[in-house]
Symmetry: C2
Subunit: 765 residues, 2 copies
């Protein structure tokens, strides 16, 4: 860990030295994406040092079928792996026949900036080659928010006090490797390539999953600002380069503007891909880099106008929250209902598939509150479209009659993770998917989605729970045996309180929504009963189970038990762990973790977070004080939930500590693993910790509530929320707090428990 690696700055991520040891970390931190494609901040030019090259395409994956151990019935067909796509950013720089390579050069100056306000990555390096030629490279790069297949690079090499022959050779290349491959199996097959004038394309297909991808580039060269057309096309199988060589005098500079990127078969049929990107590339080059950048800035401006959070007096906290908001917006734009939010976004390969419960449990409120309603609805539609596959998945596991079990990890609705304790047992994910339907209803006050689609999802989930419980004669209650809760440091436990409580809630909520629809819209209700083949007894059975589900409670301590037998553990808090054994998941064997009391992330407390209104503060306090001391927060999703709960308990400074852990997890590389990629979904947790934590935002009874509590380190906090068509802004400083309404019709707003009439502000002043 190198805590001063990244310089504090309110709007930028800045590296002001060349840190060869932090290359992979920086490649993650400075990643660019636009929701459809994204890539690590690899250098354009050749780099022979340690580096993790990665460029990723939304929804495109490799299905690994390797079998080890004793295969279990019900395992999915494949284990999905995110794959590194052909390289479109490459630019070879050759100076007097010597390839320019930061790893062998003498680097005099180095500065890299990720301008989050404008979505622009820049790098300026002054170096001397091995042969002693001094030059300055300036690179500017962005992935267009306004055109998902388009990336743009402006790359300049300027000579200092010496003449030299400089070749710039921008290329596209399908010879790439995948860190996540077993035995270096190739993930791609090269099919075809094309080169004409200043445009080149490669056609590749993923092995086994058969996604067609067209990778392209189009280039213009300039010498001292004047267009230079003397370049050639050099082709090898799977690689096309445009080679521009010029003898330059001292002080001269050569530049290439390169547009490039991908078009996958998720976007266009293979036969149309090349024409599609050709038009994009040619138009883009015609506009030129500056004009394209203006469009990019305009789009990011729109994002920030709504999503920005300002924190004064604490530049690291400010930088942290913007970093997180920036990456959330890079990862998911809500435009394509086939896509979702991967835990590492477009910044690394780990964790294979794209969608986890993280989306509904952590990310959903962020997109709901900072985007148009349609974005959150697209997230709901994603699961609705996968309902049939969730039913198939449940049926593979022996459930029937329309029971749905959503996958733990998925690319397209199919389960694609194969560890039984996760795949088969971490079933609480089903509850998070129902909870998002509830969150949408509560937030928007609308029941249209519920009636048209959401109820189908809820009924599938309720049917799953009704079959998944079993009746314990010993307890005379329903139990849920053999699960993994949110705390994945326990596997195959019985009666995980969170799972049981969430199942109870799902059954009740589904039954209550059917009742409500019946009251308000009997004919719609009739239609739903027919469509989903719901009988009266089934409905009654759901309520019966919900009322009789076992919820383990320890009267002495006044706490719910994380699972049966939790109190049999050696209940020593985390201070008993030797510091050099942290994180325990990197130091302890799995059985030791399992039998310890240590908690990876909020589990019982996740239930208190979701169902806050069901419990008193006294109950929260007892459970928080019992469980938090055992919590090692080794999931990136943990500190944020604890930050929200701590503010609820009025413990603002404790919450602030959790906030720092979550907001700068990647920037400060707390878990010494940022080189593998960023923790994208936990970034939404950071947003929750500010908005629901320090901002105290809640939606209750068709009103929005704020109960702000500012940490000592902050002078002020301000953010906007899009609530039922109204845009509200909360501004808090050391003395006062205030809600302004920026646009929309009046809505009910409570500040610190009092109904307030927000002052109106001019729209986007």
């Amino acid at each position: 860990m190198n805590l001063d690696h990244i310089k504090p700055d309110a709007w930028k991520i800045v590296e002001d030295h060349y840190y060869p040891d932090r290359i992979e970390a920086a490649e993650s931190l400075f990643s660019l994406a636009n929701g459809a494609m994204g890539q690590r901040a690899n250098f354009e030019e050749h780099y022979s040092g340690k580096s993790f090259r990665g460029s990723y395409l939304a929804g495109v994956y490799y299905p690994d079928k390797t079998k080890v151990g004793w295969w279990k019935n019900g395992y999915p067909e494949y284990f999905a792996k995110v794959l590194n796509a052909p390289n479109w950013i490459g630019i070879d720089v050759i100076c007097n026949k010597e390839i320019v390579d930061l790893n062998t050069a003498t680097v005099h100056e180095f500065r890299r900036e990720l301008d989050m306000q404008n979505g622009l990555l820049t790098r300026k390096v002054t170096l001397s080659t091995l042969k002693g030629v001094k030059l300055t490279i300036t690179s500017e790069r962005f992935l267009a928010l306004f055109q998902e297949e388009l990336g743009c690079i402006r790359y300049t090499v300027a000579l200092h006090d010496q003449a030299a022959e400089i070749t710039l050779a921008p290329y596209i290349d399908a010879h790439i490797s995948n860190n996540d491959s077993n035995w270096d199996d190739p993930f791609w097959e090269h099919k075809d390539q094309f080169c004409k004038d200043s445009f080149a394309a490669l056609h590749t297909k993923t092995n086994k999953s058969a996604f067609d991808v067209c990778t392209y580039q189009s280039v213009s060269f300039f010498v001292d600002g004047n267009k230079s057309v003397a370049f050639s096309c050099e082709e090898k199988p799977g690689r096309v380069a445009f080679v521009h060589t010029k003898q330059l005098a001292a002080g001269q500079k050569v530049m290439v503007v390169k547009t490039g990127g991908y078009c996958s078969s998720l976007q266009q049929p293979q036969s149309n891909q090349q024409n599609h990107v050709y038009d994009i590339a040619v138009n883009a080059l015609k506009q030129g880099f500056d004009e394209l950048l203006q469009s990019q800035q305009k789009q990011w401006d729109e994002v920030w106008r709504m999503a920005d959070i300002t924190i004064e007096g604490d530049v690291k906290a400010q930088q942290g929250i913007r970093f997180n908001i920036f990456h959330l917006n890079q990862t998911y734009t809500g435009k394509n209902p086939l896509l979702n939010i991967g835990p590492k976004g477009f910044t690394g390969e780990k964790y294979g598939g794209s969608t986890y419960w993280d989306t509904e449990a952590f990310c959903f409120p962020f997109y709901m509150a900072t985007k148009d309603e349609s974005v959150a609805k697209n997230l709901l539609n994603y699961r609705y479209k996968h309902l049939d596959k969730a039913m198939e998945n449940a049926s593979k596991l022996g459930f029937s009659d329309g029971a749905a079990l959503y996958p733990m990890v998925t690319m397209n609705g199919e389960e694609c993770h194969n560890e039984w304790e996760i795949t088969f047992e971490e079933i609480h994910r089903n509850a998070a998917i129902a909870y998002a339907v509830f969150a949408y209803e509560r937030y928007t006050g609308k029941s249209d989605y519920l009636i048209e689609r959401g109820i189908d999802v809820l009924v599938g989930i309720a049917r799953f729970w009704a079959q998944r419980v079993s009746f314990s004669t010993a307890k005379n209650q329903y139990v849920i045996l053999g699960v993994t809760g949110p705390n994945e440091y326990e596997n195959n436990v019985n009666n995980n309180w969170y799972t049981n409580y969430a199942a109870k809630w799902c059954l009740n909520y589904t039954a209550s929504r059917l009742d409500k629809i019946k009251d308000e819209n009997p004919s719609e209700h009739e239609a739903i009963l027919n469509r989903l083949n719901i009988h009266e007894e089934e409905h009654t059975q759901w309520k019966h189970i919900a009322n009789n589900i076992y919820l383990s409670f320890d009267k002495n301590r006044g706490v719910y038990l994380q699972q049966d037998g939790f109190l049999d553990k050696e209940l020593k808090d985390t201070s008993a762990i030797s510091r050099d054994e942290l994180p325990i998941n990197q130091h302890w064997s799995w059985d030791r973790i399992l039998r310890s009391p240590y908690i990876k992330q909020a589990d019982v407390l996740q239930g208190f977070y979701f169902f806050e209104d069901h419990f008193t503060k006294e109950q929260l306090k007892k459970n928080f004080d019992f469980y938090e001391p055992f919590t090692v927060h080794e999931s990136s999703l943990s500190p944020s939930i604890h930050a929200v709960l701590a503010t609820t308990l009025g413990r603002v400074e404790q919450a602030y500590k959790f906030y720092l852990q979550t907001s700068r997890l990647d920037l400060d590389d707390y878990n010494a693993e940022v080189g593998e990629g960023l923790h994208i979904t936990s970034m939404a947790g950071t947003w929750l910790s500010v908005v629901e934590g320090f901002g105290g935002m809640r939606i209750k009874d068709n009103a929005i509530h704020f109960s702000p509590k500012l940490p000592d380190a902050w002078d002020s906090l301000s953010f906007k929320i899009n609530f039922r068509g109204a845009i509200l802004q909360l501004t808090v400083d050391k003395e006062t707090s205030q809600v302004s309404q920026i646009s929309g019709d009046p809505v009910a707003v409570f500040l610190n428990g009092n109904l307030v009439k927000p002052s109106h502000k001019p729209v986007f002043s």
Copy 2:
């Protein structure tokens, strides 16, 4: 399943028709081995039909390093896979330029016999080739018990009423495939080959594990009984054939005698392998097939004189028990302390590594009672030699100070299975290893092994348990959290009664042996304390834990609970499972199996089996009647233990049903999987069910006890036991039972509870 596939016969396994659908099953059932090498009963000649070719070398394996899922700390370096070795048995037969292939020929007659009395596999086939030439192939094959590198084949082709050109081309071939390979990775590298006169050798090396193996053959050809020297050597890389072609008249026959086999780097250094097998091959050919077969018969005669069990009146039972005894003797001879008993022996690839707890828990008594004492001692020495590696293994999992955890699956003392619920949690295996030390002591009455070596193993194991327990404040007792018991249909449970009880026993036994040594041999005791660095407090602590370990008991039912929470399950017995869902491990998803009450194999009852004397028959009855109805017996190790316990309860006919299940498991292919290989270790369970079940044999207080109970279907039962240097024979018929002493000094023998003076019989009359 084809229940009349194998013909009943007291001494032979017989197939009297050509069953193309049962080829793979027969390849398993007719397997040959000699403890050092073995192979499936593949045809010598080319066969284009469905077949599973396999030839295996003791101790030679491939280390698979594939990673999937989320890698856990403490996982072993590799997952060992048994590998198919180069083919030495091949003989191409070409008739009028047409390759002879049973799959395309018209088969008129077919008979295959495995003569278990003599360890000889014969096959006689009369067929017409596609071109209409009728011929009879006779093949005889054995793997020499007297020379572990030697296999012998006599192979004859006889023409009927038509002349033809017949080529016999015996070959050795390294181009083989491995069923168990991911993505068809090659397991072998071909290094070199050699051919001179009638001898040929191939030198190969296993990939990654780097075992050198020399595969060889040496041949003599005969036409109508006269030696024929007109043959040539045909070499391709990795393949050497001797080609003998002759125009034969109608009624003539051509024969090849082929000796061959392997020498691995476990037997000889690479540089010496070829010379070593050359001498063996040349000498063998000089002796000729008949003389070699006589030596083989002599050795098997010695095996059977001691190990045979005769059952009169029930030829299928007789065939079943001999089949099992035969394969146990083929699999393990006790000569090489580096080797052990693999669950599939030399008959298939599944289950990777060679040694499981099966050896100590099931096989040990068989070898102890039917072999020289040195054989069982070699099994103990195998674990003693691996003590350091067991300590390393424990230390990887966070245990310290000499705690030893023996691997669940091993080739050479290292753990080589990588599923956490097995590798890390199925720790009861440690108790079985201690139990074998106890069994040896009880059986032989000797403490030499204990003092010299066994105590080291016991102390390592006791230290493991002392660290593996944790103290539950809630229960005010020691608990063992997070284990998998013998019933692998439960994972990561708390307080598995069997594990807790076995741990208690290990701690007590270790402490008591130290006490005993102190009493009887204080200086030896002193030496042990020093050697193992044992302190008084440690010793005290073991007893303290043993006295305070939690053993869950249900007072209402009078049964020990398999694990915490067992009574929360839906306690429906196995009759509630639909027949078409059996075996559940082929039909149910893993989570469904886990939350069901169904038991794969004896678990609580395994404890009653091991520690019979600690419980009353009434207790056994209650526990048997509670657990057996939930038991699906889907481990081959299950019915035998239940057979023993049922006879103890006087339920002879129920025991007989279990006996049939265990003794003919493979012959009648109960689990429809015999094609993958035989269940070798469960064959020892069959022996237990006869000797300890129907024979009622026990060792108690330095005496041997028999309490025979004959099933109705049997007229008589007779077997021999080697007890403390005396060979005793129990003979039971419908009226009487009798123990004779065949050799050795008098020993204390109880028959049906009464001390008897066995009548003497002439030695091996």
